[in-house]
């Protein structure tokens, strides 16, 4: 049993969990300003009210697990992407505060400002995460000590920006489906009308990114060339996306949402297969790349952490499922709501 591979997979699972769960609430945030009227905006906020906080825990735990399992990657990426991560922190704080503070006062100006803050920060979080992902795909300059050797503006290359926009589009699609599932009446009809636009926006971005990857980033497709069976994941991914409008037409919103989850998971799986066994690819000196072997903690620690995960993960799944079960159904506003 190769513990390094297991941890690569486990961190992938944590980050996919994050993308699927926080993905929809970031998407709700991205669409927030398009919804008019205070009560409708409160419904938007409260559709994610009880769960957004828990969704973000997947990121926190993913970060902690990366620190524990691949400390060299954690240190290199976090210090290398310094300014980008600081901006990410700022928008994460603003978003949390906006959700928490918005409905605490009646003032129109107060609510309007927090609405803007909530929506912009949601978009920026998705975008910055996408940019980070884009840079991991293209590879970044590393020196022989495994330290980042580029600057902040190197991170804003066209490909990474494209991945950033694609991430925003993906989360908007995902979020719009979620809101339709959680609302009723006029608001639901209105947002249902947006789903198709979101899907089209995402598919355009997705096709463009795929073409760019195939043309400019050959290392990401090496494994797929070597093992053609892996291409079935790409087909499943396409089918999952294609299934979304079909389910929406049949008013099976929950199944549409599951399809959307599946498309996010399969996209990240394709990304992980392309990357494996590297975690951070060094460009232009591939020999300095950080892999699941040279950047990992000791075997003993990976083993201890695996036991921690085996004990902890069933609880995590139990909490997550029960919370979504308890707060199932359409959003209702009461005096404890946001």
């Amino acid at each position: 049993m190769d513990l390094n591979i297991i941890w690569f997979v486990l961190i992938g699972v944590l980050l996919s969990g994050y993308a699927i769960l926080d993905g929809f609430d970031l998407g709700v945030g991205a669409l927030h300003l398009l919804v008019k009227g205070d009560i409708n905006r409160r419904i938007m906020l409260n559709s994610i009210g009880p769960v957004w906080d828990g969704n973000e825990v997947w990121l926190v735990t993913g970060g902690g697990a990366l620190f524990a399992a691949f400390p060299v990657v954690y240190a290199t990426v976090f210090s290398g992407f310094y300014i980008a991560f600081m901006l990410l922190l700022v928008v994460l704080i603003f978003r949390a505060v906006a959700i928490e503070f918005r409905s605490k006062r009646e003032s129109k100006l107060w609510r309007q400002s927090w609405d803007v803050s909530f929506s912009l920060s949601s978009i920026l979080i998705a975008f910055l995460m996408g940019v980070a992902l884009g840079n991991i795909i293209t590879g970044i300059p590393l020196d022989s000590h495994g330290e980042y050797a580029g600057g902040f503006f190197d991170l804003l290359n066209p490909y990474s920006i494209l991945v950033g926009i694609t991430t925003v589009a993906l989360f908007m699609m995902h979020g719009s489906i979620y809101v339709v599932m959680k609302t009723e009446g006029e608001l639901q009809e209105k947002i249902k009308g947006w789903i198709n636009n979101c899907i089209i926006f995402f598919v355009i971005c997705y096709v463009t990114t795929t073409m760019a990857t195939l043309i400019y980033i050959p290392h990401m497709v090496a494994h797929f060339k070597e093992y053609p069976l892996l291409f079935s994941i790409a087909i499943l991914n396409m089918l999952a996306i294609a299934n979304i409008p079909r389910e929406i037409n049949h008013k099976n919103y929950f199944r549409a949402f599951l399809s959307s989850c599946a498309s996010i998971a399969s996209l990240l799986l394709i990304f992980a297969i392309g990357l494996f066994p590297n975690i951070v690819i060094s460009q232009p000196n591939p020999e300095y790349s950080l892999t699941i072997y040279n950047a990992a903690s000791s075997q003993k620690t990976l083993w201890i952490m695996l036991i921690v995960a085996i004990i902890g993960v069933p609880f995590v799944l139990a909490y997550t499922l029960s919370i979504y079960w308890i707060f199932r159904g359409k959003v209702k506003i009461d005096n404890m709501s946001y």
Partner: protein, 460 residues
């Protein structure tokens, strides 16, 4: 000020100091919520339900700011202290990941029920959620203090090397997980912090309740709240005397340089004195304007007035913490501890004699006491962490060798200014909303409302 490492240290002190206002409040308020909601379930008195609902809203506010400022901390190890992260990741990272898996999911999951689940689950399930959120808050304190204590008193590890790009690096790796978790200082420091957190929660409730009594508002609510919180405050303040003492004895054993700095004890000597206050002149190695009790330090540590206490001069000049800062923060923390014991005991006696609620003077004194445990927590943290200097991991890695190599002073300045602005704004907003919530008070139940609810129950 072009030394990025110095700015990064200031930044860490500032961001962790800000963060450390909130988790203790959550931990302490959690305990009080359990008591309040437990009393509601037991007595079925609506007043306790209102009380729980009111404090849950405040709890949610402190929790939210705590989470937002906590994510910053998790990122900061990697962004600013990358060399440290590489060195300790194998050990420290594990504790942090365990915190995420065991504590954060638990807290955030049950918090949703605590805040939004009043009409979704049964009262018993809701009470269970309150207990679980509080348990989760305590559990996250366990893991983060285990991680931090390992920096103070490393155990259960060995130094190993790993290779990267043809270079050899040194780092700490776990050899014994449980020895790492139960390192020599972790349990002492955990209990010390938890009891301090209970005090933080209790004095917040004391302060707000006393304020209502002075203003003649929400009288019954305030009386019950004050009673509960005074009992918790007195219990934990007195308990802290013993827990804090144990912690200091542990420091003497495990980090003698830190203890010597607590008391500005320069030459190793028997009959070591304990200072009540003073100002340390580090250059001339003496304490100005000080008042000392001969032999008390020896007695407190070893139970023997003649025992020898190691002084700062036993350590190389490069291995000593900045003495006066550690001395002052430690002494003020201890003084605040005694002050809180005094105030809460006096309050409890007056409560016992049924003279508290009418005594405007003592109520006026109680209102600002919310700041006392907060100050003591911050000062205690300063003495613990500055007392650890110049080491980031005691005896293994120096703070000056731990900074991120690729980060420039301009970048650290950028983030420092950014955090200063945002935290200032955040803090003002937090106080503003807290103030409004307190002024608004609990949603009162009027007699007519009561009849209405009763009727509804009768009619089904």
């Amino acid at each position: 000020m072009n030394d990025p490492e110095l700015i990064a240290r200031l930044q860490f002190a500032f961001t962790v100091g800000f963060h450390f206002i909130f988790p203790p409040l959550s931990i302490g308020l959690g305990i009080l919520l359990i008591i309040m909601e437990g009393l509601y379930l037991k007595t079925k008195n609506k007043l306790y339900e209102n009380m729980t609902k009111f404090w849950v809203k405040i709890f949610a506010l402190t929790f939210a700011v705590g989470v937002a400022s906590g994510i910053v901390m998790e990122f900061e190890f990697g962004t600013n202290w990358a060399t440290y992260s590489r060195f300790v990741g194998d050990v420290f990272g594990s504790a942090l990941a365990a915190e995420g898996i065991f504590a954060f999911f638990l807290e955030s999951g049950f918090l949703a029920i605590l805040v939004f689940g009043w009409n979704k689950v049964s009262p018993k399930m809701h009470f269970f959620s309150t207990i679980m959120v509080t348990f989760g808050a305590h559990l996250s304190a366990v893991w983060i203090i285990v991680a931090n204590s390992w920096q103070q008193t490393p155990a259960g590890y060995h130094l190993a090397t790993y290779e990267l790009g043809g270079n050899i690096f040194k780092r700490a790796e776990i050899t014994d997980f449980w020895a790492m978790v139960f390192n020599p200082s972790s349990m002492d420091r955990l209990f010390h912090t938890l009891v301090g957190s209970w005090m933080a929660g209790a004095f917040l409730v004391i302060s707000v309740s006393a304020y209502y009594l002075i203003k003649n508002k929400h009288i019954e609510f305030a009386k019950k709240g004050l009673t509960i919180s005074l009992i918790v405050a007195a219990f934990s303040s007195v308990l802290q005397l013993f827990v804090g003492h144990t912690s200091a004895v542990g420091v003497a054993k495990n980090q003698p340089a830190k203890l010597a700095a607590f008391e500005a004890h320069y030459d190793s000597s028997a009959v070591a004195p304990l200072y009540l206050f003073g100002w340390v002149d580090d250059k001339n190695q003496k304490v100005d304007l000080g008042l000392q009790i001969p032999g008390l330090l020896s007695y407190l540590i070893y139970g023997d007035f003649n025992a020898k206490v190691t002084g700062l001069n036993a350590f190389d000049k490069n291995d000593r913490p900045p003495v006066n800062l550690v001395f002052q923060s430690y002494h003020f923390m201890v003084a605040l501890g005694f002050l809180m014991i005094g105030i809460s005991i006096i309050g409890l006696i007056l409560l016992w004699r049924k003279k508290l609620f009418e005594n405007k003077l003592i109520l006026k004194i109680l209102v600002p006491t919310v700041i006392l445990p907060q100050l003591a927590l911050q000062l205690g943290w300063i003495s613990a962490e500055v007392g650890r200097q110049p080491w980031i991991v005691y005896g293994l890695l120096r703070t000056k060798d731990a900074f991120s190599k690729t980060v420039s002073s301009g970048e650290v300045w950028f983030s420092m200014i950014l955090f200063t602005l945002i935290y200032t704004l955040l803090f003002i907003l937090f106080l503003f909303l807290l103030d409004r919530k307190i002024k608004h008070g609990p949603d009162d139940i009027t007699p007519s409302e009561d009849i209405y609810t009763d009727k509804k129950t009768i009619l089904g």
